[in-house]
Amino acid sequence: MINKEVSNVQKALFGITDHMTLMLGGFGLSGIPENAISELVRLGVKNLTCISNNAGVDDFGLGLLLQKKQIKKMISSYVGENDEFERQMLSGELEVELIPQGTLAERCKAAQGGFPAFYTPAGYGTEVAEGKETREFEGKMYVLEHAFKSDFSFVKAWKGDVAGNLIFKGTSRNFNPCMCGASKITVAEVEELVPAGTLDPNQIHIPGIFVQRIFQGTHYEKRIEQRTVRQKV
């Protein structure tokens, strides 16, 4: 068994420098690597390019990095619900590349799986296809999209073992599995880190081969963006 455990978030982020490209898991505020984001803020690394479906809210998630102006460019599919983001984007301080959500997921998967490029119908005929190669297959038009290239992937899982195996919970899974092994170094933070042999090999969502470093995170806030409930009758 190859041990991927590191003792804390500082060691997990060793090697992070300015101008790097990062992938960060999560959908909205669900399944975001809270500990890694806090440490990125503490380290103060700047001019980051962040690949993440969303950009957090003003005071949580990637919003924390935006406040400190650590992000040079965001590659996302949806960036609503974040005033500071909108301000930086409209003022031109922040570079933003918006791409379809399925394309974002698959460009991560392509990087994970060694595919240089693939064809997808999403965005054909829209401005996201501008400057991109398009092609017809059986009467339908597709856009050629390429694998991402990035330095670090930061993902958040529910449980993990020291071999790097990961299990996600509910919809906090989202982009996290797709980003594992899609960067030079993948850092997984988990709510519970267990010894190898504890997790059922049949129920691993992401095998440890896609993870270089794993640590047990602390103080998960797991903030809820839209608390919707019904009343008990």
């Binding site: 005929g125 919970k169 906090s172």
Partner: protein
């Protein structure tokens, strides 16, 4: 004229037994409350859940179980969770039978715009571009006109497109319309709304053939 709930109720009539359905944010989300009796449908949310149920009871919210609108949800028996890549494989692979989503503009050629107002509002397309590029059966749910009273059913979209020639049907507060090669074909009118009202609120070509029935739920 229909309110949002009326639009949702009319949309619910488009559900068929055995359908997997993706509902967009806003009015489309309400459709889940009006599934006709006796049919089985499952709701997919592109952030990674199939078999969505109602909102949780107070105190039972789970930050790890949300829908694409970031709302806390529950799941029903037979539900499953999965990652974003597999989720869009369901969508791109046409396993999802029906997509209902909102729009800022729809054109009579089936184009849709719903993700960007240049220089003003740039929220992003989320999963909408994948949905409209893939699904065979896409219905737009929206108000017939915008806040300034301008028609949202146009000859050509003025905003950046989300998808080209993909919209088949539109349900608004005024009418149900089908996108045909000759323009918007009026299928049904809302209670208390005349064909003239609809004509005035529609910038694109409106085709009116014969008597137009009133929407029934």
């Amino acid at each position: 004229m229909l309110d949002k709930i009326g639009i949702a109720k009319r949309l619910a009539k488009e559900l068929k037994d055995g359908y997997y359905v993706n509902l967009g944010i806003g009015i489309p989300t309400l459709v889940a409350n009006y599934v006709p009796e006796g049919i089985a449908v499952e709701f997919q949310s592109e952030n990674g859940v199939l078999g969505m149920g109602p909102f949780p009871f107070e105190g039972e919210e789970d930050a790890d179980v949300i829908n694409a609108g970031k709302q806390t949800i529950t799941t029903l028996a037979g539900a499953s969770f999965f990652d974003s890549a597999l989720s869009f494989s369901m969508i791109r692979g046409k396993h999802v039978h029906l997509t209902i989503l909102g729009a800022m503009e729809v054109a009579e050629n089936g184009d849709i715009a719903n993700w960007k107002i240049p220089g003003k509002m740039v929220k992003g397309m989320g999963g909408a571009m994948d949905l409209v590029a893939s699904a065979e059966n896409i219905i737009v749910a929206m108000m017939h006109t915008n806040k300034n009273g301008e028609s949202k059913l146009l000859k050509r979209c003025t905003l950046p497109l989300t998808g080209v020639g993909c919209i088949k049907k539109i349900v608004t507060n005024l009418a149900v319309l089908e996108v045909t090669s000759n323009g918007f074909k009026l299928l049904e009118k809302a209670p208390g709304v005349s064909v003239d009202d609809i004509k005035k609120a529609t910038e694109g070509t409106l085709l009116v053939e014969g008597d137009i029935p009133e929407i029934v739920f």
